[in-house]
């Protein structure tokens, strides 16, 4: 279980999180929505301890993340996969080596046979061809980098997965593949995940619960139906604008297809 309890965080005069609380039960997928720049990535980084809260607490797997010692947090992090917004691939390493570094279990990581199979498997899961393994991050397109980042995050078969905008910048086909992967990991392996997104439609599809981060606070938190039915003006505004954007995009795509 992931519990974010009253977390506050500021950078100089910029108050990014102000008493934010969020709970993700075991086996649940929560979508964290919000306009860009609101602090979604910052909140996600608090969950695996990349950032420390100014106030409040973060509890993952029963452990208080900000208070863990170095070894303890390393151990906890090996159970938490993190998909970075911009991939954050190690650019001096090949795709194969990148994904292999994601295999966090000591004995598995030293077993070449296992690693080769696992890397291949992870590439397949994110819909990439096996020969991508030999390439370097600089040779990949943005969408491919993102999917390699996802492959690296799932390679260690983590219990928790934190996705930072896993589908933004992907074409619709691959966005669907990733959405389906998120669902599959939950259903088959019982992975607990937080999916940060500003894509309302995609996240409503994969999420059991949706939380909206708005002006440094959680403005709405509930099932997709509950959030959709919310009377809160801010929530309405965010959802409508985004759904409209989706509609316009879909229309544009349809038109492009007709034209082609």
């Amino acid at each position: 279980m992931i519990q974010v309890i009253n977390v506050s965080k500021r950078f100089l005069h910029n108050i990014v999180l102000d008493g934010v609380s969020l709970e993700v039960r075991d086996g649940e997928t929560v979508a964290l929505l919000g306009p860009s720049g609101v602090g979604k990535s910052v909140l996600l980084k608090h969950i695996n301890g990349l950032m420390k809260p100014d106030a409040g607490d973060v509890i993952v797997d029963g452990l208080s993340v900000p208070r863990l010692k170095r070894k303890e947090i390393q151990q906890l992090r090996s159970k938490i996969g993190y998909v970075f917004q911009y991939g954050a691939l190690f650019d001096s390493m090949s795709v194969y080596e990148n994904i292999r570094l994601g295999i966090t279990d000591e004995t598995c990581a030293n077993d070449d046979g296992y690693c080769n199979d696992r890397v291949k498997e992870c590439l397949r899961l994110v819909n990439l061809a096996p020969d991508v393994a030999e390439k370097y991050p600089a040779e990949l397109s943005g969408g491919m980098k993102k999917r390699v980042g996802i492959a690296r995050a799932i390679a260690g078969a983590p219990k928790y997965l934190l996705y930072d905008e896993p589908t933004s910048g992907l074409d619709p086909v691959n966005a669907d593949v990733i959405d389906a992967l998120i669902e599959r990991l939950r259903d088959e392996l019982g992975v607990t995940s937080v999916v940060v997104s500003h894509d309302v439609r995609g996240s409503f599809r994969v999420a059991d619960r949706v939380a909206l981060l708005w002006q440094a606070k959680i403005r709405a938190d509930g099932t997709p139906e509950q959030v959709l039915a919310s009377q809160d003006a801010a929530v309405q505004q965010f959802l409508e604008r985004d759904l409209e954007m989706g509609l316009i995009q879909a229309e544009g795509e349809a038109r492009a297809k007709r034209g082609a």
């Binding site: 990349l50 992090r77 954050a88 691939l89 650019d91 966090t104 690296r152």
Partner: protein
């Protein structure tokens, strides 16, 4: 009056901000060094990467180090000739050339070159890894950037720089001898006599101790600055230039301190 007051106030604020920054740097730097000391036991992680790094920076720097050392030896030799001719016995030149290479020019020039070459490289590499979140990514996989990234770089420098210094010493002396032979007609016997007459085994140790300290400064400071780089490409650029300048200045300061400590007149 009013204007003077604002100037004093600004000055006070400036000093305040500056000392806060200095305290912040000192704290972070100390923690980084402590973290590295704590990571020493995890040789299985940093050792293979250390050799990889050492190869990359070592071979790449060999040519420029030897070139500079050779020229330093030649110039020392020519100047010695210019100053000594007719006043001192010729074999003194042997002593001056070898002693100045071993005691000062070899270690300092090598360290300064390497502060530029690998200091800039380390700061830029780590800085861009920081701003593209690669360091965060490493941490998110439960791996320590200290043992995976910093220690291999620092140890590679500490392996390579003293070794290069010894090559530089040798090259400088040899080139210095041949220059003296050409310009002053110094014979090998005279050169050797002079060099041996003033040489103490302590000198080589001193040269090594110096270059180990310089190596630490030339690697740890750039690693620290790159590791803490902020704000995109500009931040990486700033980290890189600051790294080269502060590593070089530290080397020169250390030079004075170590000389005073080891050779200073009691």
């Amino acid at each position: 009056m009013a204007r003077r007051a604002t100037i004093t106030l600004d000055l006070r604020r400036l000093v305040g901000r500056w000392s806060l920054r200095a305290a912040d740097h000192t704290g972070r730097f100390t923690f980084l060094v402590l973290d590295m000391l704590r990571g020493v036991a995890e040789w299985r992680i940093y050792l293979p990467r250390t050799f990889e790094q050492a190869q990359q920076v070592g071979y790449g720097s060999l040519f420029i180090v030897l070139l500079v050392a050779g020229f330093a030896g030649a110039v020392t030799s020519l100047q010695t000739g210019y100053q000594f001719t007719g006043t001192l016995p010729l074999y003194y030149a042997g002593a001056v050339i070898s002693e100045s290479m071993i005691l000062e020019l070899g270690p300092v020039l090598t360290a300064l070159i390497l502060a530029g070459r690998i200091g800039a490289r380390y700061a830029a590499e780590l800085g861009s890894m920081r701003v593209t979140e690669q360091i965060d990514a490493l941490e998110s996989l439960g791996r320590s950037p200290i043992t995976h990234l910093l220690m291999p770089r620092v140890f590679a420098g500490i392996l390579v720089i003293p070794a290069l210094t010894m090559f530089a010493n040798a090259t400088g002396i040899v080139v210095g001898f041949f220059t003296a032979k050409g310009s002053l007609g110094l014979t090998y016997a005279d050169f050797e006599y002079g060099a041996r007459y003033f040489f103490r085994p302590l000198d080589l140790w001193y040269s090594l101790v110096k270059s180990y300290c310089f190596a630490a400064a030339a690697t740890v400071i750039p690693c620290y600055l790159g590791f803490n780089a902020q704000q995109g490409a500009e931040g990486v650029g700033r980290a890189t230039t600051t790294a080269v300048v502060s590593a070089s200045v530290s080397i020169l300061l250390l030079d004075v301190v170590i000389t005073q400590l080891l050779l200073g007149v009691k």
